[in-house]
Symmetry: C2
Subunit: 363 residues, 2 copies
């Protein structure tokens, strides 16, 4: 086995979800990632944990959704029951074909997300991590050879996470006490929102591996303005380009996309929360040096911000603050490297990708 | 996809576990059998069922067991919790390498079986089926090409199960009301047992697919005599040959094997019940025309009987009768085609493989 797979397993078990003796652990892996599941079982055996292994199969999901009646889609009680007895969840992504579910009707995908929202909520309350196995389909989507893509993935995940945490902490200290945030980029993006009372989280490879962002939750009703996401959104293998959203009192009141607009419409129609923001994130991981059409990596790139419509990440919303409880959570990215700035409480904290605590910052 | 896989899925869903709308279903599949999982998801979508998919990975199991401390092995609470909310379980076997767990210490395998006995018991109370995907490792073990093995498997599973049921029912009618059964073969096997009060089950492709046997439970303390299992036992990829057991008052008081005797010893040491019988079965499926070192098929062959040490099949033991609750269940086979007979309450019911209700029977 590639020794980088065992390293990856060790980072997951000891850093991301901090497994100790007696922990129940659920691993979800696609067939192409069985090697990583094996390496994780090795480590979990050493730690005295109690693992189970689910197969993520987009082929099976597609077969089910295309053949079912949308009205029959119900909560998976057995999956929820297992999760309630689980301490930590390890979700491994990895595709032989990233377009495997591209011919599933979006309304069925949305119906399933609604039916299984309790599972998603339960999982969010656990120790969990989402990570990547460098499979050929993901490499193809990134326009990379499988070997080059493996190097890219392992460089991003098997790294010094303490150093990354310290770098990001300086941005947390600016954003956490803030009330107002404004994102401006080119002519098409000028969006203001309140983050008052919300908590800013430093993501250094715990719930996402790779990590490399700081993120918080906008106050759901506070978002005003327009935004053009100039990095494409990949959804069930469909590439949605140049998503444009217009917000009034927090709600999406107008939208467009240059390609696959109906996929975007399907996301926004999931439920009420899907038309409001749930997350503001700032990418700070400069080891992720290229766009690979994979949100887990793309949203962490330096010189970018991202916003998610839908569910807020629980830990960013203190008790008593308004919480977006949508069944969906879809991130979209803006390139901030040129003609762009981020303002916090009226002060520019990043211009053209350079933070105010970095050399070369121009106020 | 091979159309025989879709046929197999239909037999499983509609015949073996009779799925209807709203049923929660757990599928367990090895990576090599993803095609069958996909075909099952198609059918389960059509039926309005609620499926989940577990990955059976002998590689992961081996990694876990070799690295864990036997004392740390505990019940998988999350797996049990899921099962309690499950209506039907579909277990798919299929190996890329049937010897994958051959270097796992048998005491750890036994410790895991003990720790997870509540899971095994819970599953036995559900609608469940164990079936086979024709994978290359299983073909190799059978000394067949993969293509010839596929033909063998699909002939055995995609068949007229009503006709098979009727053939077997004649043996059920002889065995079900019986008190005493005696198995005699060659010089080495003469074993007597009581089946008084136990129920004989007609297996026509429900819990096992292929089916093709009738089986009951010996009264645990009643077994007396000696038996030589002249068909090999395959356990974790190890082939155990010519298992010999001597019973007194139901208990194994002496044993031997010509190869891998320590594997047999590991089975018998699982717990108290592992030294007593849990099943007497009579193979009646003449479409299974060769021995393939795979118990799911071998035990159904015509002209054979099998006995299992360990756990009794629940439905063969009516309330109030003594029940073997061992954590293990290991079947072993005797060839009855020559110099052999089965006696029921003092009358010969099968001689050299021919039943008394068949042409050519010699009393």
């Amino acid at each position: 086995m590639d020794p980088r797979i065992r390293e990856h397993a060790e980072v997951i078990v000891d850093h991301s979800v901090s497994i100790s003796t007696g922990d129940t652990v659920e691993i979800q892996a696609p067939v192409v990632a069985e090697d990583l599941a094996v390496a994780l079982y090795e480590k979990l055996g050493e730690r005295g944990a109690k693992p189970s292994l689910s197969m993520r199969s987009p082929r099976a999901d597609r077969a089910f959704l295309r053949n079912c009646d949308a009205d029959d889609i119900e909560l998976l009680d057995h999956t929820l029951a297992a999760l309630e007895e689980t301490d930590a969840v390890i979700i491994i992504k990895g595709s032989e074909n990233t377009a495997e579910t591209s011919d599933v009707p979006t309304e069925k995908t949305a119906a399933r997300a609604r039916a299984n929202a309790p599972i998603q909520r339960e999982r969010m309350g656990k120790r969990w991590v989402g990570t990547q196995f460098p499979a050929p389909g993901d490499a193809q989507l990134a326009e990379m050879s499988t070997e080059a893509y493996e190097a890219f993935v392992y460089r991003a995940v098997n790294k010094d996470w303490d150093e990354q945490r310290e770098h990001q902490q300086r941005m947390v200290e600016l954003l956490d006490p803030a009330d107002e945030v404004r994102i401006v980029s080119g002519d098409a993006t000028d969006l203001a929102m309140s983050v008052e009372g919300m908590k800013t989280v430093n993501d250094y490879g715990e719930k996402n591996l790779p990590g490399g962002e700081v993120f918080t939750a906008p106050v759901p009703d506070s978002v005003e303005g327009e935004i053009l996401f100039d990095k494409p959104l990949v959804r069930q293998g469909n590439i949605v380009e140049n998503v444009w959203l217009k917000f009034e009192e927090g709600e999406v009141v107008d939208f467009s996309a240059e390609k696959n607009e109906e996929v975007l419409a399907g996301v926004l129609d999931t439920d009420d929360g899907a038309r409001r923001l749930g997350e503001l994130g700032i990418g700070m991981n400069r080891d992720i040096d290229r766009f690979t059409y994979n949100m887990l990596f793309d949203e962490k790139m330096g010189d970018t911000i991202h916003l998610a419509v839908g569910q807020a990440i629980g830990e960013t919303v203190p008790d008593g603050q308004p919480l977006n409880e949508s069944a969906t959570h879809v991130d979209m990215i803006v390139d901030m490297s040129e003609d762009s700035f981020i303002e916090v409480d009226g002060e520019v904290v990043q211009r053209n990708g350079t933070f105010r605590f970095e050399d070369g910052f121009e106020k």
